[in-house]
């Protein structure tokens, strides 16, 4: 109880003591100044004065003073002892915005006791406000704004002051959140000049902006013109009249206007010339507009002399100009149904709807007239954009007009020539190239000036037919872009037809891509023939649907299991390539990539193994494991050099064997082979039946291939053939022994199978027996199957299995000893010169393996060949080659493209020759 009393007394005492000085605690000293504000970067000095009572109590004086900034003790060097009770501290270059400065004393030598503290605030004096300006929104109070200058870090007040010459107006003090503008409290009086300025003030100073003197009417921002409306005129399809209501300010000041308009949907505005709207008005007629077009308008206004501010834009208002007669003729073209009946033609007339800016109104219909020589007009009224008519084979003049509510267009006139009309004067130098995401077409004007051009285009595809779209261009045009949807990576066939007064000219076509891409599939490579050190690779050209661009080249990659991959670039025109310097008896992996301008794509990998034995040495292995004439044995025939007698002997021996083994062979003379074998052109025929000549067939069939010595004269060949025939006759009936004797009786030194290297070098003459059988037996085809095929009409089946196997042999000059196809062709065409065409025996053997009777025909065939050879045949090859490049589908397209009764003549060499041209000329621009 007494404790509580004591406490209460003490508390009361303290309350009374401190209450008398207004604070609860009496500090031991004070800092002067109490709440300083200093300019950033300046020096500041504070003084701490201790109280006597405190100094006595703690036994300290001013020397014991320690200054601190936050927790940081200020070094003694910055202190100054003024007297026994006071010490100052000087802070130089104050950079902190807010500093807590405390005065402390060190009691008992080491204990810091806080005496007093102040907060030092620093900042910058205000800068002179700049760019003072005022705006008077019509009907509202005036608002002025300015640039306050740099940040002061202190509370800075801005005061807008304004006065007349005779009167001061109330100050406008800024609000805390908008220190750069102020709205005065009075409505300004127009036509009386006033002076306005801004005062900026904070703890560090006060500064005044430049004074501006103005008439508030020159700072007016008028209210927006209201109720903008648009009306059209039936008399004039090119005008629209705008009306609006001006704001009330028009009673006080004169206005000028800014009127903008655009067609509906357009993004950019057109402007009425300002000088046409430079005075107060409430309506305006806009001229030179397009008929039957919706226009959108907006308007704003300001003081006529340009002083003040533009009003906000009015709400947009729209109106449609009245209709006018169509200003252009529709694009007009026709197609003749190719399947015309005798004396009549079905002609489809077609035209394009006029674009709105030419239709000038709603097209109500089309009128077509047909005029034939000396006959009266036929009239048609059509709502559609096509009309099919039956015409005779005579010449017709067709006219077309489009009609709207106001009138008719001029007539589009087209001449449909008579059936026997010969189109001439095609466009020249036709080019197509992508640019700015559009496909551009350009050409050189023909010598005869056309009335117009028709451009047709369609997607080339194996999957869908060519359905052409078209467009018309004026006769003066010589470049344009395809106006229609075009897809990327699609091959477009573009045809340009000049149209003359007497009918269409010859069409010219070109292929182009809007944007190329890498092929979607790579080529599938396979071996055509594998030798000990070489392999002939072949592939098919990619279908147009997967090309995605112009195939520029191929790259063949091949490697062994352990070796590095080797890459070989091959021109895109090739479909065959021979890999040389391969290692024998080795597994190779090969794949192939095709490249467009945009990149390439790999095809599937193919593996093959080179044989252990060489081909060129003409190792004829006749492996007989079947009893022949109650005897069995193995017969090896080695022939190092050209020895036809040996070959013939072997062959006849084989025939005997075969006949023995497969006695029920169908009669080849009644098969298809009998038809094609002697007469079909060698390699470049597309007929799938030709597959029977492929090497695969020779492989499968137990045949003998002969590679003729180039130097061997033709008469010798004949002689050998003669021998062949004789042998055939002589071997009949006694097969056994003959084969053996003929083999063994070879006058040439025999070469063992180990003599591969030497045989490989000798390519002058080869008699091959089952050349590819090596690999076929060992890696691909079971031998039994091979044989069973070989002795029947199976070559046909084989060709079905490999329908793609109809490649051209176009690298004729690259032919070496292991390119039988090439050689076949080459020999065929050069037989009259020097080379003997022994390789015909390939075929003869194949045939003979079916039936011996064919030998007779074979001979006839061979003897007939020289007459058909030579340059003429070469030419034929070229023609076929070109046609092949375009493919059978292209022919179909040509048929479907038969517009205007014309075959679209493809630009010569188009698939191969055009593109390099454009590349060279820089005409093609990849996107």
């Amino acid at each position: 109880m007494s404790v509580l009393q004591t406490w209460l007394v003490q508390a009361l005492f303290i309350f009374l003591i401190t209450g008398s000085i207004g604070v609860l605690l009496d500090p031991c000293g004070r800092i002067n100044p109490e709440s300083p504000v200093v300019q950033l970067g300046s020096n500041f000095t504070a003084v701490c004065v201790l109280k006597e009572r405190c100094m006595d109590y703690f036994h300290v004086n001013a020397n014991f003073i320690v200054w601190k900034m936050g927790h940081f003790t200020i070094p003694k060097e910055q202190y100054t002892i003024i007297n026994r009770t006071a010490a100052s501290v000087t802070l130089t270059d104050v950079t902190s915005l807010n500093i807590q400065l405390t005065c402390n004393i060190l009691t008992f030598g080491q204990i810091e006791q806080n005496v007093y503290g102040i907060t030092l605030i620093s900042g910058l004096p205000p800068e002179k406000p700049k760019n003072l300006n005022c705006i008077v929104n019509e009907g509202k109070k005036m608002m002025c704004y300015w640039d306050p200058g740099r940040e002061t870090y202190l509370e800075t007040n801005f005061t807008l002051k304004s006065e007349w010459a005779t009167e001061k107006f109330a100050d406008c003090k800024t609000k805390r959140d908008t220190p750069t503008s102020c709205t005065v409290d009075y409505s300004p009086v127009y036509f009386v000049n006033m002076e306005v300025w801004v005062e900026a003030a904070n703890a560090l100073g006060k500064v005044t902006s430049d004074h501006i003197n103005f008439d508030p009417v020159d700072k007016v921002k008028p209210n927006t013109p209201r109720n903008l409306s648009v009306s059209n005129s039936e008399e004039l399809s090119s005008i629209l009249k705008l009306t609006w209501i001006n704001s009330n300010i028009k009673n006080v000041i004169r206005l000028k206007y800014d009127i903008q308009y655009r067609t509906k949907g357009a993004s950019t505005w057109s402007q009425i010339p300002p000088e046409d709207t430079a005075s107060t008005r409430s309506s305006f007629t806009v001229q030179d507009l397009k008929p039957f077009t919706e226009y959108v308008f907006r308007i704003r206004c300001m003081k006529e002399d340009g002083k003040g501010f533009w009003s906000d834009w009015s709400e947009e208002a729209s109106g449609i100009t009245y209709e006018d007669r169509p200003s252009n003729t529709p694009s007009f073209w026709y197609k003749i149904d190719p399947s015309h009946s005798h004396g009549h033609r079905s002609v489809q007339l077609m035209w394009k709807t006029l674009p709105p800016f030419e239709a000038n109104g709603k097209i109500l219909g089309y009128e077509v007239t047909l005029t034939r020589w000396k006959s009266r007009l036929q009239n048609y009224t059509v709502n559609d954009t096509k009309l099919t008519v039956n015409l005779t084979n005579d010449r017709y003049i067709v006219t077309l007009t489009a009609r709207n509510a106001v009138g008719r267009s001029d007539a589009s006139v087209l001449t449909i020539p008579a059936c026997d009309f010969q189109a001439t004067h095609p466009v020249m130098d036709l080019k197509a190239f992508p640019k700015d995401n559009m496909l551009w077409v350009e050409w050189t004007t023909p010598s005869k000036s056309p009335n117009k051009y028709i451009l047709e285009w369609c997607v080339l595809s194996d999957k869908s037919p060519c359905i052409p779209d078209w467009q018309q261009e004026d006769g003066t045009v010589h470049h344009t872009y395809i106006r229609g949807y075009l897809a990327e990576s699609k091959c477009y066939l573009i045809t340009v037809t000049p149209v003359y007064a007497d009918g269409p000219g010859s069409p010219v076509s070109i292929k182009a891509y809007l944007k190329q891409a890498p092929p979607s599939k790579g080529p599938t490579v396979r071996t055509k023939k594998v030798g000990k050190n070489e392999a002939v690779l072949e592939w098919d050209q990619l279908p147009v649907d997967v090309q995605n661009g112009f195939i520029r080249n191929y790259t063949i990659f091949y490697r062994t299991n352990i070796g590095n991959e080797t890459a070989v670039n091959v021109d895109s025109s090739h479909t065959e390539y021979t890999l040389s310097s391969l290692t024998s008896d080795t597994l190779y992996m090969v794949r192939m990539a095709a490249y467009t301008d945009e990149g390439g794509k790999d095809g599937p990998e193919f593996t093959f193994t080179t044989p252990k034995f060489g081909e060129i040495e003409a190792i004829v292995v006749c492996l007989l494991s079947i009893p022949i004439d109650n005897s069995s044995g193995v017969l090896f025939c080695f022939n190092k050099n050209r020895d036809y007698s040996l070959f013939i002997t072997c062959s006849s021996f084989l025939f005997r064997i075969k006949k023995h083994i497969w006695p029920n062979v169908p009669d080849p003379s009644k098969s298809h082979i009998a038809q094609w074998s002697p007469h079909t052109p060698p390699r470049h025929n597309f007929n799938p039946k030709d597959q029977m000549y492929s090497d695969g067939n020779f492989t499968d069939v137990s045949v003998v291939e002969i590679e003729a010595n180039d130097k061997k004269s033709f008469p010798e060949d004949l002689k050998s053939l003669e021998l062949f025939k004789k042998e055939k006759v002589s071997t009949e009936g006694h097969s056994s022994g003959i084969g053996g004797s003929s083999c063994m009786s070879s006058s040439r030194p025999s070469i063992s199978s180990s003599d591969e290297n030497e045989s490989a070098q000798n390519t002058s003459s080869t008699v091959q027996y089952s050349t590819v059988v090596h690999s076929g037996y060992r890696h691909q085809v079971p031998s039994v199957q091979v044989f069973s095929r070989s002795e029947s009409t199976q070559p046909l089946l084989d060709s079905e299995e490999r329908p793609e196997d109809l490649q051209l042999v176009d690298n004729v000059d690259g032919g070496d000893g292991i390119l039988p196809r090439q050689q076949y062709f080459k020999q065929n065409c050069s037989q009259q010169e020097t080379s003997p065409d022994i390789s015909h025996f390939e075929r003869s053997n194949q045939v003979s393996s079916v039936n011996e009777e064919d030998f007779v025909r074979l001979k006839q065939q061979i003897s007939g060949i020289p007459q058909s050879c030579g340059s003429g045949q070469m030419k034929m090859f070229q023609e076929v080659s070109a046609a092949d490049a375009f493919g059978p589908d292209t022919e179909g397209q040509g048929e479907r493209f038969k517009t205007a009764g014309m075959e679209a003549v493809l630009d010569e060499g188009m698939p191969k020759s055009y593109l390099p041209q454009t590349v060279r000329q820089g005409g093609y621009m990849p996107q």
Binding site: W164, A165, T166, Y190, V252
Partner: protein, 224 residues
């Protein structure tokens, strides 16, 4: 009695107004573009005030109520002598010299402004008070403009009557109808004055136009 209230009030107002117009520093600062621009501006201001008054009068007369807001209300003039009359014989008006023309305008608006301020004090609605206040400010601006033109042309401003103090003293009680009648006539007279002033300043403006300016000034100089 009424007259005395009006006279005292008017004088007090007039003195207040004139007290504030000893000099026209704003116009002195603008260099020496001649009186043309300020006359044009004063003319524009009269048109602007005329426009303002039209809407203000409509509102105020509606506030006064019938019969004052009726379109054909046209009472005989009462206590008219206290208001400066704008109507003047055409010949007399034509023969006025520039100084006299300007002085008459100045004196008239000084009086009218004082009356108008009395009107403002009586107005009941805030909106009306605001409109009247703005109109008063504008009229004050017109007085300043006229003073500026006079200063430019070298004419002294009319001095307030000696002995009058710039204080406003309310007069004795006034019947409500008569008070409204005074207000009606005040607005009507203001309108007439603004029409006349527009003509006055248009006339001055034409006289001050550059080609004829030298001759006109010469003649004016002779006039004084």
């Amino acid at each position: 009695m009424d007259m005395s209230w009006d006279s005292w009030g008017m004088l007090a107002c007039l003195c207040t107004v004139l007290w504030h117009l000893p000099a026209v520093p704003a116009l002195n600062r603008t260099g020496d573009p001649g009186p043309g621009p300020s006359i044009q501006k004063t003319y524009d201001l009269t048109r602007y005030l005329e426009h303002q008054l039209r809407s203000l009068a409509g509102t105020y007369l509606n506030y006064l109520g019938p019969p004052f807001n009726e379109p054909d209300f046209n009472p005989p003039r009462l206590g008219a002598d206290t208001l400066p009359r704008a109507t003047v014989n055409l010949e007399v008006w034509r023969s006025l010299n520039d100084k006299l023309r300007l002085t008459q305008n100045y004196e008239a608006y000084s009086h009218l402004l004082c009356y108008l301020r009395g009107l403002n004090r009586q107005a009941a609605t805030a909106e009306l008070r605001h409109s009247l206040a703005h109109f008063c400010t504008s009229l004050q601006g017109l007085l300043g403009s006229i003073a500026g033109v006079m200063a430019t042309l070298g004419y002294p401003l009319p001095q307030p009557l000696p002995g009058t103090e710039p204080t406003w003293t309310p007069g004795p009680a006034h019947s409500d109808f008569l008070q409204k009648m005074d207000d009606f006539w005040l607005l009507k007279e203001l309108q007439t004055w603004l029409w006349r002033s527009a003509k006055d300043f248009n006339r001055l403006k034409k006289k001050m136009q550059p080609p004829a300016a030298a001759v006109t000034l010469h003649l004016e100089a002779h006039g004084f």
